[in-house]
Amino acid sequence: MRNKAFGAFLLLMGFLAVSQPLAAHHGAAGYDMDKQLVMKATVTDWLWANPHCFLTYDTTDDKGNVVRWAVEVSNPVDMTKRGWTKHSLNAGDQVTVTVRPAKNGAPIGQLLRVVLPNGQTLIGWNPAVR
C-alpha cells in the first residue's frame, strides 16, 4: 500500500530550504501523526548510535523513481530493550517499513515498525515502550 500523496513530496523537495539540524530531543511536532506510510524498502544503512539510531533505505515511488529515505528510532539503550541490535538491519536487506512521515513532505520520518527478511517484526519508534 502506498499513499498517493507520496509522490508529491518529490516536487516539494526542490522548494525546501530546511538546513537546520534536527533536534535530538524533539517531540513529534514535525511529524504527521495522522499518516502512516508502508513501503517496500532496500536497506542502505543502519546506524546504531546516539542520539537516535536511524535507518536509510531506497524505495520506489509510483513513477518508478528510487527515493532515499531516512527514518529514526530511539537511542541504542532503548532499542536494545525492544529487541534491536546493531545487526538488526544490514545493507541490502529487503524489508517492509511503516513510517510516520515528516509534515513538510521530505523523505524523513519516524520508523514505527519494520518486517525483516525472516518475517520478524520489530517495533521502532514508540515513546510509550521503553
Binding site: 523537495m13 525546501l16 539540524p21 534536527l22 533536534a23 546506524l47 542520539p51 536511524f54 539503550v77
Partner: protein
C-alpha cells in the same frame, strides 16, 4: 582374614572422613549472589550505596518536561516564551527551530539530569563525599558530606556545587547552588537563574526502595518554591547490573544531523 578386612575398611573410612573435612575447610566461602537484591533485609543505616534505577522508565525520562511548576515571574515567562525553543513540551517548536543546548551536546547539567532522562545511577560513599555516577551522559556528581558550608557566591558549574548530610538514618538531604544558567531545567525549556537553589531528598523506604524529591527555589524565575520530583520511586538493582553508555558525542550529533538532513538537499 575378616579382622584384616574390617581393619582396612575402618582405616579407609577414617581417611575418607579426614579428606572430606579437609575439603570442606578449603572450599571457597559463599559470596552474596550479585544477581539479586534482598528486599527482606533491613535497610542499611546512612548508606545509599548501590545501583539505583527508576521504577517507571517513562517517568524517569519525562520527555515533555516536569509535571507542573510554580508560576513564572515576568522574567521567567519571557525566557520560557521568547528565548528557549524546546523540542517537546507545551511550547515545543518544529524540528529545526529548536535551540535546546543538549542538541549540540552541551551538558544536561543539574538538576536537568534528575528531571529528564533519569536512568540508572550508582551511589558510592566515601569518608567525605557521596558520589553519584549517572548512566545518562556518563557524568558524576560529588556531594560533600564533610560538614562544609555551601558557598555564598559559587562559580557557575554545569552540575553545581553540592553539600549534604543525613537528616536521619534513612534520609539524605543535599543542597546545590552555583548552577550554570545556560542549562535548562527540563526537556520542555523551563528556565532557571544562576541564583537557583536545589534541594534533593533521598529517603530510603526499605532495603530495595528509595524516594527522590527535588525542590526548586528560584525567586527570579518562579513565584514560589516547587517540586521537580515528588517522591519519585527508585529501586535497588543487583550489584552486577551493567548499563550501556549514553553519551552525547558532538561527532555523532553531527552525523545524525547530516544523515537526516541529506534527503532534503537532493
Amino acid at each position: 582374614m575378616l579382622r584384616i578386612h574390617l581393619k582396612l575398611i575402618v582405616e579407609v573410612a577414617i581417611v575418607l572422613a579426614f579428606s572430606l573435612g579437609a575439603g570442606a575447610q578449603t572450599a571457597p566461602p559463599k559470596r552474596p549472589d550479585a544477581t539479586k537484591t534482598n528486599r527482606a533485609a533491613p535497610a542499611p543505616r546512612r548508606d545509599l550505596s548501590g545501583i539505583w534505577d527508576v521504577v517507571d522508565r517513562m517517568e524517569g525520562i519525562s520527555p515533555t518536561g516536569v509535571k507542573s511548576h510554580a508560576p513564572f515571574t515576568a522574567e521567567g515567562a519571557n525566557i520560557a516564551n521568547n528565548v528557549y525553543k524546546p523540542g517537546d513540551g507545551p511550547r515545543r517548536v518544529p524540528i529545526g527551530l529548536a535551540n535546546d543546548p543538549l542538541d549540540g551536546c552541551d551538558p544536561a547539567g543539574f538538576p536537568r539530569n534528575l528531571l529528564f532522562e533519569l536512568r540508572p545511577f550508582q551511589v558510592v560513599q566515601t569518608t567525605n563525599q557521596l558520589l553519584l555516577l549517572y548512566q545518562y551522559q556518563k557524568v558524576w556528581r560529588a556531594i560533600w558530606t564533610d560538614g562544609r558550608q555551601i558557598p555564598k557566591d559559587a562559580d557557575p558549574q554545569w552540575y553545581g556545587y553540592s553539600t549534604g548530610k543525613w537528616e536521619d538514618d534513612y534520609t539524605f538531604v543535599a543542597e546545590t547552588v552555583g548552577m550554570d544558567e545556560r542549562t535548562w531545567l527540563d526537556n520542555a525549556g523551563d528556565p532557571h537563574s544562576s541564583d537557583m537553589r536545589v534541594e534533593e531528598r533521598y529517603h530510603r523506604l526499605d532495603h530495595d526502595t528509595m524516594e527522590l524529591t527535588v525542590k526548586i527555589v528560584d525567586p527570579k524565575i518562579y513565584t514560589e518554591p516547587w517540586l521537580g520530583r515528588d517522591k519519585l520511586r527508585l529501586k535497588l538493582m543487583p550489584s552486577n547490573t551493567s548499563t550501556m553508555e549514553m553519551i552525547c558525542a558532538p561527532s555523532e550529533a553531527e552525523q545524525y544531523k547530516k544523515m537526516m538532513a541529506n534527503p532534503l538537499s537532493k
